[in-house]
């Protein structure tokens, strides 16, 4: 067994920032990640980091834009924390040497982004995430922080009291990819999940193959509620054949969207008469698909994004990476022709319920970054707001876990304070298909009994993980990839940009069927060495839980808010729905409940207004 004060799971932007903060606060911290840190998906972020750095800008304006972008489903304390701290965190990165794009006077450049009232997006070319990730990993190396890379975390060691709010997380179970060793990682002070989003639940996604929502699924099964999972962002400009992202920076710099008739449809068809291409992402994605559905798409599939008029010099200076991506992955020369684009799954606004300090309702368990939901993004995330979330909340979680004194959070977690229980009209039974307690099928249930001491909780969780692996390796059955492919197809077909009640119910039936099929999976590779077959099989189980949670939330929320569009419910229902959707895993069965959104900020209350661009 390994032992540290703080164990950070995941080594993308949030995980690295959390580890640096915990180290600064004096904790013995270790990072455990299924990938080497520089392989993390933060590296694929292109556009930038929003921060109110200039005199003409203010954190209050950033907060207002973010709240409006969230369609009034973000919690004000989280949004204000983000916007107040982002400038300090951006300059911290700058002091760590990050290669920001610069103005003539040597200060960092900022550019306009969708939904922003001021050009406040700092960036490093069109590869901001790459620079952020590498700069932060450099700091981890400098500090000598221990990294267990290619250690895949299989489960969390959490006690099993009746109420999740009484449980405590004592560590994690890791699997060494190179050797097959299964070992406990005891965390004396806290475990921080920074494991990213569940993008692989969809088959057309900008997300990496590794984005399987492992941390979300493990914590969900251990009692942490999943919040607002129905809010999935579909990025309007992804390459049709691969899902590779074309940064919003292209539109920020002046790129224009055209339909097959050569119309600048954002204006000409009235989708966003003021902001046009720079309207919020959900607005642009729906506009594109509407164009395609009404017969004005190119090859009935996509629209064109044209940046040729920006000129070679500007494109090469600020968007060079886009030229390479379009060429390598779509065979399009962005200097010479418009690039084909269509909406693709990009980001999950929802995630593990946390407060502004990254704490979940389970003691000693934190979450930060895309896997968490504080909630900053509400129903829709603005471009340029994901990277600041990583560094602001990663740092706060790191500090808090390491015991640094911080202001108490205002956001409530778990079933405490004001909340209401609810039900969803599902056509099938949800959750585990009847084999709860079976280590394979339930993905590792809560292993401990009562408030056992840390070591015995860890030991029993490790033992359960070993049994699960043993069973998977020594049985015959179907291969997980077909189960995964079925779920991905279902989600893209039925839980996409446009959602209909019948389609959502059909999706729940198909997910149920996939869960039943998963009962029969087996791993054919018997090896202890780099057994990716085994690990992907385990990831697929995580995707099943998350696909179901996304769909349940989508069915429950019968309104149209932000990224969540319902055919039968075409208006935002503020009287009924200014509340978060929460889903708790209750003995293998998802339980739905709601909590009111917090619109009261530090000095003002945000009043829901019509969201137009």
């Amino acid at each position: 067994m390994y032992e540290h004060d703080v164990v950070v799971v995941g080594a993308g932007g949030a995980g690295l920032r959390a580890a640096i903060a915990a180290d600064e606060a004096g904790a013995d911290v270790a990072i455990v990640s299924k990938l080497h840190p520089v392989r993390s998906h933060t590296g694929a972020a292109e556009g930038g980091i929003n921060a109110a750095l200039r005199d003409a800008d203010s954190w209050e304006d950033h907060a207002y834009d973010t709240m409006k972008g969230s369609d009034y489903l973000g919690d004000a304390p989280a949004i204000e924390t983000l916007c107040q701290n982002s400038p300090y965190e951006v300059i911290q990165l700058e002091h760590w040497g990050m290669a920001f794009s610069r103005e003539d006077d040597g200060r960092v450049s900022q550019r306009p982004f969708g939904g922003l009232s001021f050009p406040r997006t700092t960036y490093a070319g069109a590869e901001t995430g790459h620079h952020l990730l590498h700069t932060m990993y450099e700091q981890v190396v400098k500090r000598g922080i221990e990294v267990y890379d290619e250690w895949h975390v299989l489960d969390l060691a959490v006690t099993d009291e009746e109420r999740p709010e009484d449980r405590h997380c004592h560590g994690v179970v890791g699997y060494d990819v190179a050797s097959g060793e299964v070992s406990g990682f005891k965390a004396r002070d806290g475990v921080i999940l920074a494991t990213g989003g569940p993008g692989q639940a969809f088959d057309h996604t900008t997300n990496a193959v590794s984005c399987t929502g492992d941390g979300q699924a493990m914590a969900y099964r251990a009692g942490v509620p999943l919040e607002d999972m129905e809010f999935i962002q579909f990025h309007p400009t992804t390459l049709p054949s691969t899902g590779v992202l074309i940064s919003e920076g292209v539109r920020g710099e002046g790129g224009i969207l055209y339909n097959a008739d050569g119309e600048r449809f954002m204006f000409e068809h009235g989708y966003a008469n003021n902001d046009g291409e720079l309207a919020s992402r959900d607005v642009v994605s729906r506009a594109e698909l509407t164009e395609v559905n009404e017969g004005r798409g190119i090859e009935d599939e996509y629209v064109h994004l044209d940046m040729r008029h920006l000129g070679e010099e500007r494109i090469t200076d600020r968007l060079e990476n886009i030229l390479h991506l379009a060429e390598d992955f779509e065979g399009a020369d962005g200097l010479d022709e418009p690039m084909p684009v269509k909406p693709g799954q990009h980001y999950a606004m929802g995630g593990l319920e946390t407060d502004e300090n990254g704490e979940t309702c389970v003691g000693g368990l934190y979450a930060a970054g895309e896997c968490a939901c504080a909630s900053v993004h509400g129903a829709n995330r603005l471009g340029g707001n994901a990277l600041p979330e990583l560094i602001v909340f990663g740092k706060r979680a790191g500090y808090h876990a390491a015991g640094k004194e911080m202001e108490p959070a205002e956001i409530e977690t778990g079933q405490r304070g004001e909340f209401e229980r609810a039900t969803v009209d599902s056509p099938v039974e949800l959750g585990d298909p009847g084999s709860f307690g079976d280590a394979v099928a339930d993905g590792g249930a809560v292993a401990a009994s009562g408030s056992a001491d840390a070591d015995s909780v860890l030991d029993s969780t490790v033992e359960q993980a070993r049994q699960r692996i043993d069973t998977l390796l020594h049985s015959d059955g179907i291969h997980h990839s077909e189960v995964r492919a079925d779920v991905q197809e279902t989600m893209t077909a039925k839980v996409n940009v446009f959602r209909e009640e019948n389609g959502l119910k059909e999706a729940l039936r198909e997910i149920r069927q996939a869960r039943e099929e998963y009962e029969n999976v087996a791993v054919s590779d018997p090896s202890q060495t780099f057994n990716t077959d085994l690990l992907q099989t385990i990831e697929t189980r995580n995707l099943l839980d998350l696909a179901e949670a996304i769909t349940v939330g989508a069915l429950a929320r019968d309104e149209f808010r932000g990224a969540h569009w319902r055919a039968e419910h075409q208006e935002r229902k503020d009287d009924e729905w200014l509340k978060h959707t929460l889903l708790s895993w209750n003995d293998g069965s998802p339980e739905l409940w709601f909590r009111p959104v917090v619109l009261e900020g530090e000095e003002k209350t945000y009043k829901p207004k019509t969201r137009s661009y």
Binding site: V38, I91, A99, F329, V523, Q528
Partner: protein, 296 residues
């Protein structure tokens, strides 16, 4: 260091291996046609049938080795016939082969868009990223091997530890003498200086350059092109102080540093991010001379 698995005796260099591998192939030829097998129970069954003549398939030959699995302890090449679709990459092809024919086929991959640097393979005799290499541009059969000059862990997975050690041996972090007092005050950098280091900051640590370098293959302690490029990134940054720059130059001009480079340009040729690695190494040599450091 060898291209081959640790226990293997063969000294066959990577370049030869790519032109003639009949010896390794003939005894252990496993042929998988384009007929998906979805059950995992019959994993050791070999399917030897020809691909459907009506289907447009591509033939790939993939290096296989697993130190633990008896049938794979002796390195071999497996042949797969993968249905071809427009835009298909080498990574797409091995994913198809894994998911449809042999789930034990093992390789690193993640982002699929040339930023995570996980999937550098030796494809038809050259280091390339699987995800950004179009199958249509390659001669058939397409040979896919692990990166030469690194120990093979399993199939296409190599041990990256040595590469990481070299990367971390050059103090790979920004280290200015001082930072501005104000928490919100920037440490300004000229556009020209940012431009100068820009290409060097694009490195994704894929290891293609290191694997392509004959010097690194012969000198186990040679820092190699990627680490030297990392040193360049900081040594050329105007925001670091003179004494730190001097330290950096001393690090890179030591016995296993820049003077080992024989300007063969193999690193520059294979770099998937188009980083002018050889040029950067040459510039470091010039800087070292200017600073009056000794030669090796």
């Amino acid at each position: 260091m060898s291209t081959h698995p640790p226990q293997q005796q063969s000294e066959e260099p990577a370049a030869e291996q790519s032109t003639d591998s009949a010896a390794t192939e003939s005894d252990h030829h496993h042929d998988h046609a384009a007929e998906p097998r979805r059950d995992v129970g019959d994993q050791t069954d070999e399917t030897e049938h020809e691909p459907d003549a009506n289907e447009d398939t591509r033939e790939i030959k993939v290096f296989r080795y697993d130190p633990e699995v008896e049938a794979k302890q002796e390195p071999r090449f497996d042949t797969f016939h993968v249905p071809f679709t427009k835009g298909m990459t080498v990574l797409d092809a091995v994913i198809y082969a894994r998911d449809q024919f042999d789930p034990s086929l093992t390789f690193r991959h993640s982002c699929r868009q040339a930023v995570c640097g996980s999937d550098a393979f030796f494809v038809n005799g050259q280091q390339r990223l699987g995800c950004k290499t179009q199958l249509s541009e390659l001669e058939e059969p397409v040979r896919i091997e692990p990166l030469p000059h690194q120990d093979v862990v399993k199939d296409l997975v190599v041990d990256m530890e040595h590469f990481y050690e070299e990367m971390e041996a050059v103090d790979p972090y920004f280290d200015p003498d001082e930072t501005p007092d104000g928490e919100l005050e920037e440490q300004r950098q000229s556009r020209a200086n940012r431009e100068k280091v820009k290409m060097s900051t694009r490195c994704i640590w894929c290891g293609a350059c290191f694997s392509s370098c004959n010097i690194a293959a012969g000198d186990n302690e040679y820092l190699g092109p990627a680490a030297l490029n990392k040193a360049y990134r900081f040594a050329m940054d105007e925001r670091e102080g003179d004494s730190k720059t001097q330290d950096r130059l001393e690090t890179i001009e030591q016995e296993h540093g820049v003077w080992r480079c024989q300007t063969q340009f193999s690193c520059t040729n294979v770099c998937p991010k188009d980083i002018p690695l050889t040029e950067h190494i040459q510039e470091l040599k010039r800087e070292a001379v200017k600073k009056n450091l000794k030669f090796w």
